[in-house]
């Protein structure tokens, strides 16, 4: 390893009033110019560790702190946070909260002003930092006008302007669409390679970390479980699964196949995986899965829009003539980059938006003529952030809220509360305050409250944002159960890799129009359309297409496989 820049030595830390330690006997060294990825399930202590590098933990929070952290020779217990800020740049998960100025240049200037840098030098540094994150030319724009990826790059520039040796990023892409996430990873990679800035990046984005990080540290319950190169850590698929983490799909595929590289190791990056496939030439399953036959729907559509246009007051044309029918019992995924019009479309079904032109029907009725409260009884809408959807004193009251207001008898309210809390595994939490629960559980409280209305359709808008892999699957499992009960399910998400096994039909949106409406096997393999709206197909899809290219006499869509399990089964089956 290169010369140590930051040393965490035997650190244990307990937040005030917390029952257990957030970090326990943790030792870690980050070398100069190194790119270290930090992985671990929710609650593993990643954020606490990130905040320990610039002294926020424990200087801001207090609590009990043992051991020491030294960055560029400064002890984080002895040096004030403002002094450490010159050496450590911090980028947090939420792009909104960390941007505090009203123009891009003022945002970058803020920290420089705080350290009393002369104006001329400040201007130089701002120009340099904005150039480094490719935001030159946006100096006078309001940060709220930037896209999610640009906002995070601005947050990086603000940290970068201090010329730090270490940039600490805590899940910087968790709230971004694939384009934004790609922008952030590319920028961080460039800063690391070209300017030699050491990076510590906590993330669930396995494919990107495998691509860019030099080293990975796996944290669980405040302790380091393992650390090593990305190849070493991501090839330990069992260990990752044991900690509810998701390895890159390439790693899972070759783990199931059993090896792949000449040295017998599992490839963890896509290009390694593709090369490994070349060596498997010819060993393919003879019978790949067929595309499902077209489904006919005898029932009239439950949700329907015809030639729907929506223009926001600022002139943004969010929907341009969208027509779509969703029939009872369907499970539909709506995907597309930010600004593609997904949420705008969905919000019309609840009359949360008024169509500029066109017709919206729910169960055959004109949705524009019905109040949101009436539509919500037929169509449940689980919006993105659970925290702004909780307003009751207990979990039980949260679920009973709507039922009381709709005038249900007390015994019926009780029946529905118990039934829904039980179905979501929340019955033991009934008397707790919703905000006392972890984020994943808070999302389930919102779902339980919406299901209490017994809607015919449930729409999940980005339900997996901010959730770890396990949390995301918990929510999707609920959606599957509801689907099996006959409900119509619509999910909006950027995380395509999560959806095989759940969604049947995929609607790809881009720039206010529907680019593609097809069964999932067909849609995920239409790389051109996905690319047009900046969606990244799961690695398994790309591997499946590579398989097809190697298979004699077959087209690219001959293997419409979606998951590492399917790809591996195909290869293993062929070899067998």
């Amino acid at each position: 390893m290169s010369e140590p820049l930051a040393v965490v030595d035997n650190v244990s830390y307990q937040y005030p009033h917390a029952e257990r330690f957030a970090l326990t006997d943790l030792s870690l060294t980050v070398g100069r110019g190194e790119f270290v990825g930090l992985i671990g399930p929710t609650g593993a202590g990643k954020t606490t560790l990130c905040l320990a590098f610039n002294g926020i933990v424990p200087q801001f929070y207090g609590g009990r702190f043992f051991g020491y952290v030294r960055v560029a020779g400064l002890d984080t217990l002895e040096s004030p946070v403002s002094a450490l800020a010159r050496h450590v740049g911090q980028v947090l998960q939420d792009p909104e909260i960390q941007l505090i100025a009203t123009s891009v240049e003022n945002e970058v200037a803020f920290a420089l002003e705080n350290i009393g840098l002369p104006r001329a030098q400040m201007r130089e540094r701002i120009a340099w930092a904005l150039d480094a994150v490719r935001l030159s030319g946006t100096e006078s724009r309001h940060p709220s006008e930037l896209s999610g990826g640009q906002k995070q790059r601005l947050a990086i520039a603000a940290g970068l302007a201090m010329r730090p040796n270490l940039l600490v990023l805590d899940e910087p892409t968790a709230q971004l669409d694939p384009v934004g996430a790609q922008e952030v990873f590319a920028t961080v990679h460039e800063l690391n390679r070209e300017l030699g800035i050491a990076i510590l990046l906590a993330s669930h984005a396995a494919e990107e970390l495998a691509e860019y990080a030099d080293r990975l540290v796996l944290l669980a319950e405040g302790r380091i479980v393992t650390q090593g190169t990305t190849d070493e850590v991501y090839s330990q698929v069992d260990l990752l699964r044991q900690h509810h983490l998701r390895p890159p799909q390439v790693a899972t595929t070759f783990y199931l196949i059993g090896g792949g590289r000449p040295d017998g190791r599992i490839p963890v990056r896509l290009d390694d995986g593709l090369r490994a496939f070349e060596r498997l030439n010819g060993n393919l399953c003879p019978q790949p899965p067929d595309l499902p036959p077209p489904v006919s729907h005898p029932d009239p559509p439950l949700l329907s829009v015809k030639d729907l246009h929506h223009t926001y007051p600022d002139g943004t044309q969010a929907l341009k003539g969208v027509s779509l029918d969703i029939h009872p019992g369907e499970y539909v995924l709506i995907a597309g980059q930010n600004g593609a019009g997904k949420s705008t479309l969905i919000r019309h079904f609840l009359h949360l938006l008024e169509p500029t032109a066109g017709v919206v029907r729910v169960g055959g009725e004109d949705a524009s003529a019905r109040p949101t409260s009436a539509l919500a009884r037929r169509v449940g809408y689980v919006a993105q952030n659970p925290d702004s959807q909780l307003f009751s004193r207990t979990v039980g009251e949260e679920v009973a809220f709507a039922l009381h207001h709709l005038g249900y008898a007390e015994d019926e309210v009780e029946r529905r509360v118990v039934e829904n809390l039980d179905a979501l595994g929340l019955l033991p939490e009934r008397e707790r305050h919703p905000f006392a629960l972890p984020k994943g559980d808070r999302a389930r409280v919102v779902i339980a409250a919406i299901l209490a209305l017994e809607p015919e359709a449930v729409i999940f808008d980005e339900p997996t944002t901010g959730q770890d892999y396990q949390g995301a699957h918990h929510i999707l499992e609920i959606s599957r159960r509801l689907h099996q009960m006959g409900k119509t399910i619509v999910v909006i998400t950027h995380h395509l890799y999560l959806m095989p096994g759940y969604a049947e039909r995929v609607i790809v949106m881009g720039r206010g129009t529907i680019l593609l409406d097809a069964p999932i096997r067909q849609a995920f393999h239409d790389l051109e359309t996905l690319g047009a709206t900046y969606l990244t197909p799961p690695q398994a899809v790309i591997l499946a297409q590579a398989l097809a290219r190697h298979a004699p006499g077959s087209g690219a869509d001959a293997y419409p496989l979606l998951t590492p399990e399917e790809v591996a089964a195909c290869v293993v089956g062929g070899e067998g």
């Binding site: 926020i56 403002s82 740049g89 911090q90 104006r119």
Partner: protein, 288 residues
């Protein structure tokens, strides 16, 4: 993102170009004048000028409409009570006993029987309505036309401590965030089948009251996050702090400042010397 910037007008005008300190002087001058004047006619004129200025500055009509809608019940109550009960004050201000009665309540009504609704009382109410409206509308005229970052540099130049200026600007920044949060909670309630639109006022108020708890909780979380962000950016109230932008007063700023100071002086002279601005003063149409 519209709401995050609702405090900032999109239009470039003389108001966006003036320094914040000038606008502060303007706000103080207009507030003092509105406070001192009692003439309904002059108050209407002053208020009309402020409304015109806010519209020219690009403050949205919908915002003004919201302010009016919020104030309307208070104003109606004020006009009625002033017309009915503000007798002694208007008699003393006008220096005469007889007032113009527009309507008298039937004599046999309990407690209020025989009480009359006077034109003079009503006009005094009109004066208060427009006085408060001027004071309420001059604030968006000043705040909405100034970039929050400029407010800070301007206040610091006016020798306001940086910590105070920052708290002021942070509050302004926080307000739209809270508004967005409140809207999402109300929306979440509607999505639970709550027909807020068909509820009576009391029931609606009870439902809205539920917003307070999550709003306070989320404010606490957000202010803690903000503190972390500030600390990470080496925030300090060090007097050696530097500023990217300088807040300098130009000739137009000095001229505007002088204008508003002179306006107060002139208004004071006219008020005390000629009685202009008094209730029933020379420019008013209420005879003494």
């Amino acid at each position: 993102m519209g709401l995050l910037k609702f405090q900032t007008v999109g239009r470039d005008s003389i108001f966006t170009r003036l320094d914040f300190r000038v606008k502060l002087v303007m706000m103080i001058a207009l507030t003092v004048i509105a406070f001192v004047w009692e003439s309904p006619l002059l108050q209407i004129g002053l208020c009309a000028a402020v409304v015109l200025a806010t519209l020219l500055a690009g403050v949205r009509l919908s915002y003004l409409r919201t302010v009016l809608l919020v104030m309307l019940p208070f104003y109606l109550f004020l006009l009625v009570t002033m017309g009915l009960f503000n007798v002694a004050q208007v008699r003393s201000l006008l220096g005469r006993e007889e007032l113009t009665y527009l309507y008298r309540l039937p004599a046999d009504w309990w407690l209020v029987g025989g009480v009359g609704f006077t034109l003079e009382g009503l006009l005094y109410g009109v004066n208060i309505v427009f006085k408060t409206l001027t004071m309420a509308l001059v604030i968006p005229l000043v705040i909405f036309t100034t970039d929050v970052d400029h407010i800070v540099t301007s206040l610091v130049r006016a020798h306001v401590p940086y910590s105070v200026a920052f708290v002021f600007s942070a509050t302004l920044r926080f307000f739209p965030v809270l508004l967005i949060e409140a809207q999402s909670i109300i929306e979440a309630q509607r999505l639970r089948g709550l027909a807020v639109e068909s509820m009576g006022l009391l029931r609606r108020a009870r439902v809205y009251a539920r917003i307070a708890v999550p709003l306070i909780l989320s404010s606490l979380v957000k202010s803690q996050q903000l503190e972390i962000v500030l600390q990470s950016k080496a925030f300090s109230t060090n007097p050696d702090r530097t500023y990217l932008h300088e807040s300098t007063l130009h000739t137009a700023d000095y001229l505007a400042m002088a204008f508003f100071v002179l306006l107060v002086v002139a208004a004071a002279a006219a008020y005390f010397g000629l009685g202009v601005g008094r209730f029933g003063g020379p420019l008013d149409f209420i005879h003494r």
